[in-house]
Every structure is written in structure tokens, then in C-alpha cells.
């Protein structure tokens, strides 16, 4: 009898897909700051689920680029929570495996939203000098990819510093009709084209202190409008 050879299934993790008609969870099933009462509609992605998904992304990243020096380029301000939790998750996982990932974090700041609309203008604010990326494995860590224009411009900017390799980790990727550019290599969730806040994602600087990812209410949009 011939021995069955093992079948190798290569699974491609493309992120958890949240359908267009997902209403989110009712607010009264979770905790959130009282000062946002009435400003959010529902809990779209609970904090605990975000953390579990990040743990998985960390494992995938470790598998792909473990045993290499990686520089995580954190896109402020929205990316700060995702970056902190992702880096922490990678650290915890590498302690219990044989792979050692020396990860350092650099920060870059982008401004591209006005109220809830993505604007054409992309401002890259400091540091101008990203020459520490030359010849290194870079992992761009971004909270959300919307039209893709920001990511495209950022990639172009980073490439001018000639890193060895660029990977992109995006916690959220929006399903948009006219998306451009490449999808992140590591995707947390694929979400509908709705404006979400929380987990460091803001609406005019508000809601960064909300730990779940939620949908803002109409009242919230008006209240915190610029």
C-alpha cells in the first residue's frame, strides 16, 4: 500500500470579513466611557476580539519574518494602539518560541482626514529623515486603510530611503469602490465603508479613548464636527 503523502494546504489569511449589513453589538452589552453616551451607535468590533486577532497577526508576522531585525514604522496617531498591542503580542509570542525578533519602533505622523472624509492632501509630519530604514526590514503599522491613497503615498515615501523589504500591517481595511494600491500583507478585519471610531481611531481627535471599535452616531458627528 502506498503511503499517503501529506497534503500541504497553504492558507492565506486575508482578514476577518465583516459584511455590509452587520449592525454591530448593542451598547448596553459592553462598557464604554459615559461621556460618549449617545455619540456612538453600536459596538462594531469589541476590544477583546481586536486583541485576539492581533495575536494571530503577530504569529503570522513571526512566522514570516522571525529571526530578522524588523523596524516597525508606526503611523501616528491612529496607529499607536494597534502598534503597541501588535509589538507586545510579538514579544510575548517570541518568548515562547525559538524565533527571536528584534523589533524597534519608529514613528511617523500623517494627516489626511477632515471630519469623516478622506482628503486628497497627504501631510507627512516628521521625522523627515527616515534614513535609519536603509537596508532594513520595515513593517508599516497602520490602523486603517481606506481609499488606499495615504498608504500609496507613504509607501512611495518610505521606498526613497531604500529599505531591504517593506511589509504592511493594517488592522482595518475598508471595502471601497475606488480603492487603489496594494492591500496590506497582514490584515485584521475587512470592513464595510462606514466611518468607525475607537481603539485610537478618531473623529476630529475624539473617540481615541474608546477601547472598542464603534460606529459613530449622527448626533456624534454633529457634536464633534469642526
Amino acid at each position: 500500500m502506498a503511503e499517503d503523502s501529506p497534503v500541504k494546504i497553504v492558507k492565506q489569511d486575508k482578514g476577518i470579513v465583516i459584511e455590509d449589513d452587520w449592525p454591530g453589538y448593542s451598547l448596553d452589552l459592553f462598557t464604554y466611557p459615559e461621556h460618549y453616551h449617545g455619540d456612538i451607535e453600536s459596538v462594531y468590533i469589541p476590544h477583546g476580539v481586536i486583541m485576539d486577532r492581533i495575536e494571530c497577526l503577530a504569529r503570522n508576522i513571526l512566522e514570516d519574518i522571525g529571526n530578522h531585525d524588523v523596524i516597525a514604522l508606526c503611523v501616528l496617531k491612529g496607529g499607536y494602539k494597534f502598534c503597541a498591542d501588535l509589538v507586545e503580542s510579538i514579544k510575548v509570542l517570541s518568548r515562547s518560541t525559538n524565533r527571536t525578533l528584534t523589533m524597534r519602533v519608529e514613528f511617523i505622523r500623517l494627516k489626511s482626514y477632515l471630519n469623516d472624509q478622506s482628503t486628497e492632501d497627504l501631510h507627512i509630519i516628521g521625522p523627515e529623515d527616515l534614513s535609519m530604514l536603509r537596508g532594513k526590514n520595515v513593517l508599516i503599522v497602520e490602523a486603517i486603510v481606506d481609499t488606499g491613497k495615504t498608504m500609496k503615498a507613504l509607501l512611495k515615501h518610505v521606498e526613497t530611503f531604500q529599505p531591504k523589504r517593506i511589509g504592511v500591517a493594517g488592522l482595518l481595511v475598508k471595502r471601497v469602490p475606488n480603492g487603489v494600491g496594494r492591500l496590506p500583507d497582514y490584515v485584521g478585519f475587512v470592513i464595510p465603508n462606514r466611518f468607525v471610531v475607537g481603539y485610537a481611531l478618531d473623529y476630529n481627535e475624539y473617540f481615541r479613548d474608546l477601547n472598542h471599535i464603534c460606529v459613530i452616531s449622527e448626533r456624534g458627528k454633529v457634536k464633534y464636527k469642526l
Binding site: P33, H35, Y80, R95, F107
Partner: protein, 215 residues
Amino acid sequence: MASYLEITDDEKGHELSLFCVPKHYEEDLDRVIIPHGLIMDRTERLARDIMRDMGGHHIVALCVLKGGYKFFADLLDYIKLLNQNSDKSVPLTVDFIRLKSYSNDQSTNKVKVIGGDELSALTGKNVLIVEDIVETGRTMQTLLSLLTECNPKMVKVASLLVKRTPRSSGYKPDYIGFEVPDKFLVGYALDYNEYFRDLSHICVLSEQAKEKYKV
């Protein structure tokens, strides 16, 4: 007078083998001085003290990059936890700044603030500056005098560590995690030429390691 957990000069700390330390650092560290769990518990208490004093009005948490980043994330997580679990809560916004300190010939320190929103965003707010370690205190004093010009409602400084050093200007932050000896410490938020950021406990660096990781 801010209370703090004092790590004395003759504190021996713990043996490395009693904690989980990344294998690649085993030869480079002497002892574990502050275990990660202790840092977290102390940070939790700092969050409560901060909310008690500053929780009456919109707080702007100002993170001093890059060192302050880890402590900032953990401290804010505890503040947010308090915020989402009580009947009262206070809006909390965040910002990130970099400080470039340089001294001129007269050795008076100048500090340049890079990044961050318009400083006018701080007017009328309760500003909380979050730093990883205060040594001489001069950088912080200079930053504070810069910030008073934007007329915040109040400005407070939270630092995870304060070093006991003769070089100190005498300045003490409003919230202090630990007061530590003037030794070479790495781990948690403290790096040495970008190394040791992946170490979760605060440890004393060995003499050989200083040479090994030198730039």
C-alpha cells in the same frame, strides 16, 4: 509630595533565572530590578491618582517619544479602564511630541518641541505629560515653562522612573512610579541603542554588555 516606590541603592533585585527573559539577553543582564508585573501594578495606581486629581476636566495626554511610548500606552489603558467603568468619565485626547535637548556653551539647557498638534489645543485643558524617566529634570522644567505659555488649565507630569542622582536639578514630577538608583537600567521602556525594548522587566545592564551594544 508625590509618593513613589523606592528602589534603594543596595537593592539586589532578583536573579534572571527566576523570571522569563529573552534568551538573547541572558549574558547581558545582571539582575531583574523591577519585574514587569510590579511596573503594571504601580502604573494602575498612578492612573487612579491621576484621575482623582485631573478627572474633573478634559485631559490631554502628551506622550514624549520615543522612550515614553510604552509607559504611555500602559498608563492610558489603565486610565481608560477607570473611565469606562464609572458613572462619571472625562474626555481624553492624546498627542505625541519629541524633545530635542541641546546645551549651548553656557550649559543652560534648551529644549525644542518637535511634532504635536498646535499648542493652542492645550489651552484651558488639563495637560498630562508622560515620560519614561527623569534624570536631571532640566528637560522637563524647560518643557513646562514652554507649555505655560499656552495657558492650560493645569499641567502635571507623570514619570515612570526618577533617578536618584547628584546631577538632579531637584525637580520632581507630580506622579512617580519608582525612584531608582543611578545605575545603567534597561528594559520595559528603557533601551540601550535601540536594544532591550523587547525586555519586559527593568534590569541592570552588565559592564560587558555596555561594550557589546555600543554604537
